[in-house]
């Protein structure tokens, strides 16, 4: 009979765990529980059951999405580190590398918008500096329900303040991202944060517990009962009738994170290889970080839980291992350096305690009050049983195709004005003004352009970054929608003059056990993969958020693409704004009547429907290469990609904040100016470069018209003309979100 430590006296015994089936509430299935019993040849105790539930959750193990993720192409000449670490790493020359990853915090943000979003930023930033990199930028991809709902306003205000307060405090600029509104996200907002870091390649660290006898150093904040079982909480869908999950949300402390970030980077600089491995304590906190680090190195780990710094009293081993208290990291440090490393952290008023060691036995062993409370094979703990998810083509995709949506617009000018005020199209300045975008003094293109540009001091290099996906397209055709998401992100990067170099993703979907949802996941990822390979942009990191549904209604499949580009010569940085009167306006690509899934369709019919045409990946790539070459040869002086709202919105955005207007003419119907055809750019060219540009572009570009010295926007089609004063258009565009928020 073993002695039961005082704090654990009220815990169910292994037999009671089995009888009560408490693990079912933690999203561990009966089959999985029985497999564990069989593997251990005994009943797991309460703590061990909790460890398995966390480690085998979708959030930690990706057991359901793995068959899809494994197919992602993640290797090319730039890749230093692909998926599986805190973040992916790409070589950018001069022994420097760019480190980036995106992560979702949808579920926490739905129940507690401010803290949910804030801790999302905190977590992704730790993923970056755990690699030894200095975080240099944050982007946020947000999806909300319709803005006129009060709940949307409440969510938006909370989420935006959470992101702002956390990122601003850290002194990491929020430079971009995207925001869209659609009823599909009414109960399930999407909060995806992407962070980008700059690394000297010599400083690269990964999360591996190498070296038998090396010490496990806990640094950062103390552990409390925050977010116990947050990982499994994120892996189950919502039932809107209950609100009891509220206690699973963590609270962030950006001040502490700032100290932790600066001190971790400093420690890596000072101690180099004596710090063997670093990992954030993210989802499922201590268990996930320690088991993964041991597992990746093929070693065991032995922790003394009484050493874990604690903020509250009477924490049980279960709580200590599963807590998701924020701002904590785990380091593996050579034994003879552990005291010095710890001292650096305690000097910054951070906890730093040696809590255990790397062992040769391959076991995951935990001691508490002198009693062994867990003893499991590490590899078994981190390897959930393989899952074979069924796929089925969603009924909507096999049903008789909806008739092609053909807009019949009697007053194209009025429609244009309405489109500019649509929440998804309108300016997001009212949101972005809350984010500090200029701290660190490196932001060359601020929010509002196609992609953000962040320069690298003491070099000529600039990094471009963006996030994008239109869930409506993915809903109408998962594969093409996936291709379009990558293509659109790449066009954003290209329009600044930068070459796309890599991708991170956040795959936001419904319940993966629904074969139709799994089909959406698999097909959209296939599409992402195809376009990524075509553009030579490997997918080097990412995250999956499933169960985004309420009462059985899933969100549109929303695989958000975060993309980074590299511009070697800062002098070629290109913005979207018109530069001079009389510059020639060219359309690169061909406008087609692509209205299915468009903002126009949504505006006119209140919903989206129909088929998407297939995307020609070669043409997409050629158009991007043309823009890059045109910018490099200094023939193109402004460039903007065509997205929601079509060429009309693109032209308007190019004119805004300039003293110019434009006069363009096309041989298609005026309504086609709103078509959302793929692979399109609008660029401007000085008249003296007309011959050179046309020689370069050949048939890919069409002269649309010119930039004018007055501020009229005049877009003529074969039937009607869109005519509006730029100031009027800009007012509609800029005030829409603000007006709706204040209503």
């Amino acid at each position: 009979m073993t002695i039961i430590p005082e704090a654990m006296r009220n815990e169910p015994t292994p037999e009671e765990v089995r009888a009560s089936q408490v693990y079912l509430q933690w999203s561990l299935s009966q089959d999985e529980y029985e497999m564990i019993c069989q593997h251990l040849n005994r009943l797991p105790n309460y703590t061990e059951t909790g460890l398995f539930a966390a480690m085998w959750s979708e959030h930690c193990s990706y057991k359901k999405s793995k068959p899809v993720l494994r197919k992602f192409w993640s290797q090319n000449e730039r890749v230093v580190q692909g998926p599986g670490e805190g973040a992916g790493v790409l070589d950018i020359g001069d022994n420097q590398a760019v480190v980036f990853k995106a992560e979702s915090h949808n579920h926490p943000s739905a129940v507690e918008p401010y803290q949910g979003a804030a801790t999302g930023v905190g977590g992704i930033i730790r993923d970056i500096f755990s690699m030894g990199a200095q975080p240099i930028a944050i982007l946020d991809s947000l999806r909300f329900g319709e803005l006129h709902h009060n709940t949307t306003k409440h969510l938006l205000n909370g989420i935006v303040s959470g992101i702002a307060d956390y990122g601003n405090s850290l002194g990491i600029p929020t430079v971009g991202g995207d925001v869209m509104f659609d009823a599909t996200y009414q109960q399930n907002p999407i909060v995806n944060a992407m962070a980008v870091g700059l690394l000297n390649q010599a400083d690269l660290h990964v999360g591996k517990a190498e070296g038998i006898g090396n010490r496990i150093l806990y640094v950062g904040a103390k552990t409390g009962r925050d977010g116990i079982h947050g990982a499994t909480f994120a892996s189950s869908d919502f039932d809107s009738s209950t609100d009891q999950n509220r206690s699973a949300v963590q609270v962030g402390d950006p001040f502490l994170e700032k100290l932790l970030m600066d001190t971790t980077i400093k420690a890596i600089h000072i101690f180099g290889a004596a710090i063997v491995g670093v990992q954030d304590m993210g989802a499922a906190g201590l268990v996930s970080s320690s088991a993964e680090m041991a597992g990746k190195a093929g070693n065991g780990i032995h922790l003394n839980l009484n050493q874990v710094p604690q903020r509250e009293t009477n924490l049980t081993p279960y709580e200590l291992m599963l807590s998701e208290s924020q701002e904590r990291m785990l380091m593996v440090v050579q034994a003879d350096h552990v005291a010095e490393v710890a001292q650096l952290f305690t000097d910054a008023d951070l906890a730093a305690v040696d809590i255990g060691e790397v062992t040769a036995d391959g076991r995951y062993r935990l001691d508490f009050d002198g009693v062994e409370v867990a003893n499991i094979d590490v590899q078994y703990l981190i390897t959930p049983p393989k899952q074979n998810q069924k796929q089925q083509v969603p009924a909507r995709l096999t049903a008789e195709a909806d008739p092609e949506f053909v807009p019949e617009l009697t007053d194209v000018t009025a429609t244009f004005k309405d489109l500019l005020a649509q929440s998804t199209i309108a300016s997001k300045a009212e949101i972005f003004k809350h984010y500090d975008c200029s701290v660190r003094t490196d932001t060359v293109i601020k929010p509002g352009g196609d992609a953000a540009l962040v320069r690298i001091k003491n070099t000529r290099k600039v990094l471009a970054m963006t996030t994008d996906v239109n869930g409506r397209y993915v809903y109408l055709n998962p594969q093409v929608g996936g291709q379009l998401a990558v293509a659109e992100a790449a066009r954003n990067i290209v329009a600044t003059g930068a070459t796309p170099i890599g991708i991170t993703d956040c795959l936001n979907f419904g319940d993966p056990d629904d074969p139709e949802i799994y089909y959406e996941l698999a097909q959209s990822c296939a599409g992402i993969n195809e376009m990524a390979q075509k553009l030579n942009t490997p997918i080097i990191s990412g995250n999956v958020s499933l169960y985004n549904e309420t009462d059985g209604q899933a969100i549109y499949p929303t695989p958000i693409i975060g993309m980074v580009g590299l511009l070697e010569n800062i002098d070629h940085a290109t913005t979207i704004n018109f530069k001079n009167a009389d510059d020639l306006i060219y359309l690169i690509g061909t406008v087609r009547p692509d209205f299915n899934g468009s903002e126009l369709q949504k505006l006119v019919t209140g919903k989206i429907s129909g088929q998407l045409k297939s995307l020609d990946l070669n043409i997409e790539k050629q158009h991007q290469q043309l823009v890059l070459k045109g910018i490099e040869d200094q023939l193109i002086n402004s460039a903007h990609d065509v997205a929601e709202g079509g060429v009309a919105v693109t032209l308007a955005e190019m004119a805004f904040k300039t003293p110019f207007g434009c006069q363009v003419q096309a041989d298609f119907a005026a309504s086609w100016y709103f078509a959302e055809s793929p692979s399109l750019f609008v660029v401007t060219v000085r008249p003296e470069h007309q011959a050179d540009f046309e020689l370069l572009a050949r048939t890919q570009a069409h002269l649309l018209g010119k930039v004018t010295a007055d501020t009229k926007l005049e877009l003529t089609g074969s039937d009607q003309t869109i005519k509006v004063n730029q100031a009027v258009a800009q007012k509609l565009y800029e005030e829409s979100i603000k007006c709706q928020l204040n209503q």
Binding site: A164, N168, K433, H434, D436, V439, T443, V444
Partner: protein, 215 residues
């Protein structure tokens, strides 16, 4: 000129200030908030950020940092002291400048480039400005300058108001964006001149600020 940039826990514009000073050839160094001496420095910069998380009130905790005794001594000795954003908040909490910075009139952090009038072009911080209207970045949630009427009247009468917002950015009394002490050697301002010294990041209106200090 030799300048110190004080680093408080939570400062996050310290390196930006250091960079800006170095661009103008100033021999600038980061000095820890735990240091006790500022001997040998001609100018002392308290940078922006969120010292001590801005917990309690912005600047309220930083005011008790060991370095603040040396800052007070340097101020009394006539050295140049500059507090930008959080630095301004610390200087008011420490009593080196009158008034207080409070939450913006419309709650929420604002990041923008705003038009500003250089009210006093004679000060040690502004004497190189040729034009009265400039644009500077602001980035704060608590930048609303507040002081009682008598204090405001005194600031105006002594020409201690150095910068004024041209639009109502945050609800500051008399749209005050920056002030000096009576002696004119201690400046506090909410806008960030250190973010406006390089054309590539879109604004050079902070250059004359640094030229004035060097003059």
């Amino acid at each position: 000129m030799k300048a110190a940039v004080i680093q408080f826990p939570g400062s996050n514009c310290d390196l930006d200030m250091l960079n800006a000073l170095q661009l103008f050839g100033v021999e600038a160094q980061i000095v820890s908030h735990k240091a006790t001496s500022l001997a040998g420095y001609d100018a002392i910069f308290l940078p922006g950020g969120f010292s001590f998380g801005d917990y309690l009130r912005c600047g309220a905790i930083a005011r008790f940092s060991p370095i603040m005794t040396a800052v007070t001594t340097a101020a009394a000795a006539g050295k140049l002291i500059v507090g930008v954003c959080n630095g301004f908040q610390i200087l008011t909490e420490a009593g080196l400048l009158p008034g207080q910075l409070m939450m913006n009139e419309t709650p929420g952090f604002i990041c923008a480039e705003v038009p500003i009038t250089v009210i006093n072009q004679q000060s040690q911080f502004t004497n190189q400005y040729q034009q009265a209207t400039i644009t500077l970045p602001v980035a704060h949630g608590e930048g609303r300058y507040y002081a009682d009427e008598a204090t405001i009247a005194q600031l105006e009468a002594n020409h201690q108001v150095i910068f004024r917002y041209q639009t109502n950015v945050n609800g500051s009394a008399e749209q005050i964006a920056g002030i000096v002490n009576e002696k004119g050697n201690v400046l506090g301002m909410m806008p960030h001149p250190e973010r406006a010294v390089e054309a590539i990041i879109g604004n050079i209106d902070g250059q004359d600020f640094f030229r004035s200090i060097l003059n």
